[in-house]
Amino acid sequence: MTTNAITVRELTKRFGDKTVVNGIDLSVRRGEIMGFLGPNGSGKTTTIRMMCGLLEPDFGTGTVLGHDIRRERSAIKRKVGYMTQHFSFYDDLTIAENLHFVAGLYAMRPKRQIVKDTLEDLGLASRKDQLAGSLSGGWKQRLALAACIMHKPELLMLDEPTAGVDPKARREFWDDIHELANNGLTVLVSTHYMDEAERCHRIAYLSFGNLVAIGTTKDVVRDAGLTTMIIEGADVPSAARALAGEEGVDQVAYFGATLHVVGSDARALKRSVTRIAAETDCTAVPAKTSLEDVFIQLMNTSRDNTP
């Protein structure tokens, strides 16, 4: 048995003449929670679909739980739980009927008992006869998660599971995910949220179909090699205007009354910031680079590299 739950090499997908996923190499270890990040349209969903056998790659190879992603789709489907980006259970079926349907498709036994237990775990037993279409976003998400772990998969692929869910429900959701991972499940989860990225063991960052960073959040921040400085003072807006386009300055962003200035060339950045801080009567101090700064930088630079 391989130690990797997912291994893909040079995975590529084109729609028409547009390359949506461009030669991705990625490994996910068993029992790991891997965060999949990137702006909208960067190819996260497409990559996940290829890995769970829903899309045929145009190029590249890969195995999921030891099965070839092109030839052994049905084996993969039995062992993987996939939660789609948009709710894709039946709105016109009740909660219980949806679960019965899933249990039937996986030929689970004893079916009734499993569905009943799932409903109770979810806290949905009293609402089991409610139509799924009438549930709120948070409950839909819980139903979808419950339905895709009912067959005890070895690998979960969750595509933006927390989009449109309130912070408390998100917190509970992540507690559940960690609980599952502690029991040996591997989880690949795509998200936009920075705080969620920090809850993953490792993250992979996609931009325009390219994998541009991978590792723990610490690794990713360190590998980016960025320098950040904070500007404070009476006339921050003037400083912001003056900094735009200066040598070494890649990003300028307001954080409350302060300004975060980020650049990859540390010496040039410091020179520019010190000079402009002096001119505008502000003070400049070095600060820690955040994950968000890194992502914005990655987005900007990889766009520059895309023809």
């Binding site: 056998g53 079926l93 498709l105």
Partner: protein
């Protein structure tokens, strides 16, 4: 559990589909209601033997023979002369406008010819745009006219073999379609419309609502998915068949000469071909709208070329060849032969083979077309 087929999975798909079908009340009511409504509309318009149809009389000399003819015609109950003394021009305008269904023209020398024992003729022009309306009225004509004149003329009556010549012009639609052809044909048309469309929309709905992605990510095979969609609609088709056949018998008294078993067997193969065709359509269309358009793209020519609307043998050769590619053509041949002419199974074997061929070819095409992925 088999990799390719499992009853458990099929049962899950079937039960899901039938719950959805039941919950979609409007569609479900339509599937039962549409056949009934169509049958009543088509059936009554065609099958009633309409009486008291308005008629115009063009008779320059209103002699006793003419009067005898007219009263005899009125006595049949089919004719009501609303313009008993019209000129030819007036009558022409009335039939063109649709004010009258018939124009009866008695030539001015009609009486004289009968008295002289010469050949006499009257002309009846019928508005045959709806041919079945006129057919009852026309079919009674010769006997009525003959008898009336015999009575009136006594000894001077024309001899049997010479008789009164009644010239009938069916206008606007020279071929007449017989009425019984229509109701069995209607069964085929109703089944074709509802079965193909409903099945075509069912799978497309999954794609459109995004549930297809979920379904494909679970271990259901293409065969199971197809059967899960097709079988529930087959059951609905069975209900429709019972409704239409019962109505044909009870409301319209359509003769049923042949074997019920052969008819049902034919219907089964036909409906199977239809639902699989619907399924095939749903594998090539991305939205329900497309599925609907494709259904009609197929439905309209099949209505024209199958022999439902126009007599099949009356069509040009190329159109007949084209007509053979529609299951409806073969079904119509089968059901008309069996129901109306009492044909045995062997006689309609060709139609069975043709329909069976559709089932096999369409299934293979559908399973081939089915996308296991979202590509």
């Amino acid at each position: 559990m088999s990799r390719f087929f499992s009853l458990t999975r099929l049962r899950a798909l079937l039960s899901k589909e039938s719950i959805q079908m039941r919950r979609d009340r409007v569609t479900f009511a339509m599937m039962i209601g549409v056949p009934l409504v169509q049958l009543m509309l088509f059936g009554f318009a065609i099958n009633t033997d309409p009486k008291e149809l308005p008629a115009a009389l063009v008779a320059p000399t209103q002699d006793r023979f003419t009067r005898a003819m007219v009263s005899a015609l009125e006595l049949t109950g089919y004719y009501r002369f609303i313009a008993p003394n019209a000129t030819a021009t007036q009558a022409e305008a009335m039939i063109a406008r649709g004010d009258v269904a018939f124009v009866v023209t008695v030539p001015s020398d009609f009486g004289r010819r009968i008295e002289r024992n010469d050949r006499a003729a009257i002309l009846i022009e019928a508005d045959a745009t709806d041919p079945s309306v006129a057919s009852g009225a026309i079919s009674t004509l010769s006997t009525v006219a003959g008898r009336a004149l015999q009575r009136e003329a006594g000894d001077a009556a024309p001899q049997q073999d010479r008789g009164v010549e009644i010239i009938v012009h069916r206008r606007y639609n020279p071929e007449g379609i017989t009425q019984y052809n229509i109701v069995p044909g209607l069964l085929g048309v109703i089944l074709q419309l509802t079965m193909v469309m409903m099945t075509a929309m069912a799978l497309t709905r999954e794609a459109e609502r995004g549930t297809m992605e979920n379904l494909l990510s679970m271990p259901a095979t293409p065969l199971e998915i197809m059967l899960g969609k097709v079988l529930p609609y087959l059951a609905v088709g069975a209900i429709q068949v019972v409704v239409v056949l019962a109505a044909a018998k009870l409301m319209f008294d359509v003769p049923f000469i042949g074997s019920l078993t052969v008819v049902l067997a034919g219907i089964f193969v036909f409906v199977l071909a239809l639902v699989i065709l619907g399924y095939l359509i749903s594998t090539v269309s991305r939205t329900q709208m497309q599925a609907m358009q494709l259904t009609f793209f197929f439905f309209l020519p099949s209505l024209m070329l199958s022999g439902f609307m126009f007599p099949f043998r009356g069509m040009p050769q190329w159109a007949q060849h084209l007509g053979e590619i529609f299951p409806l053509t073969h079904f119509l041949r089968l059901i008309r032969s069996v129901m109306l002419k009492g044909a045995e199974a062997q006689t309609v074997a060709d139609s069975f083979v043709a329909l069976g061929l559709f089932v096999v070819l369409l299934s293979v095409a559908a399973l081939f077309r089915f996308r296991r992925t979202l590509d």
